[in-house]
Amino acid sequence: MEIFTAIEASQLARAVRGGVWLYPLINTTHVLGVALLVGAITLVDLRLLGLVRSLGFSALSRLALPVAMIGFLLAAGSGLLLFVAEARELFANTTFLWKMGLVAVGGINALFFHLLLAAGSARWDAGTPPTGARVAGGASLALWVSVLVLGRMIAYT
């Protein structure tokens, strides 16, 4: 596709590919972002699945959700730079396309949870979440871990 050829030929793409330090730095930022996102969201998801009910959901969320969001932003920003550097090859990589698809589903799942289910969370703050919230938590855990695995697999497929 012509657009990806143009992206790859851009000044930005050449800077990312050509830098001796820059590329490993972007790569490391990507790993840090994924670690913060998956680590923090796993805590929230396990609580939604019903583990450690003595831990208040709102208190846990206040700490874990901003960390997960910062992780997501770091991963997305660095990921965009990594994509720009190899746009053509990545767009032709099935693993990459699956990964991006699951990122979208993970985002929709999170949006769905926060718009429809989180409002009533005060009622089960110290108890068992309703079925909908548990399903959203389980889906979130499965989706983000899958995103991590697929992301790592891009280099091998």
Binding site: G18, Y23, A85, Y156
Partner: protein, 120 residues
């Protein structure tokens, strides 16, 4: 319920531990014939001192080979700076040919100016 979830998590964890093994079996490097070392000597036609892997085109055996090298950071650390890898220079590479792309190879080491640089 808690017990059931813990059991499920333990199973998920076991699968996660297995994944690196699966990943190794799928490593992109397996596209190269790792059991047959070849050596090419010739003139560098063009170079890409780029991430994630450096590359160069080498005129050898009457063909123009695409040689996949290492990331710039590693090449620089091991003493193969960008200006040491220039078109027109004579170089040898040892490595593995691609299984399907007839003129592509992954270089394990490069010999340039009498110096051998390991790339893996």
């Amino acid at each position: 319920v808690e017990e059931y979830i813990m059991k499920l998590l333990r199973q998920m964890f076991a699968v996660l531990l297995l994944l690196p093994v699966l990943a190794l079996a799928h490593h992109g490097w397996s596209e190269y014939q790792g059991d047959k070392l070849i050596k090419l000597t010739g003139k560098i036609v063009s170079t890409g001192y780029e991430n994630p892997h450096g590359t160069m085109q080498l005129e050898a055996d009457g063909k123009t080979w695409l040689c996949v090298l290492a990331p710039p950071f590693r090449m620089e650390t091991r003493g193969l700076a960008k200006d040491a890898l220039k078109p027109g220079i004579q170089a040898s590479v040892e490595g593995y040919a691609h299984r399907t792309k007839g003129t592509e190879m992954r270089a394990e080491r490069i010999i340039i100016g009498g110096k051998t640089i390991e790339l893996r």
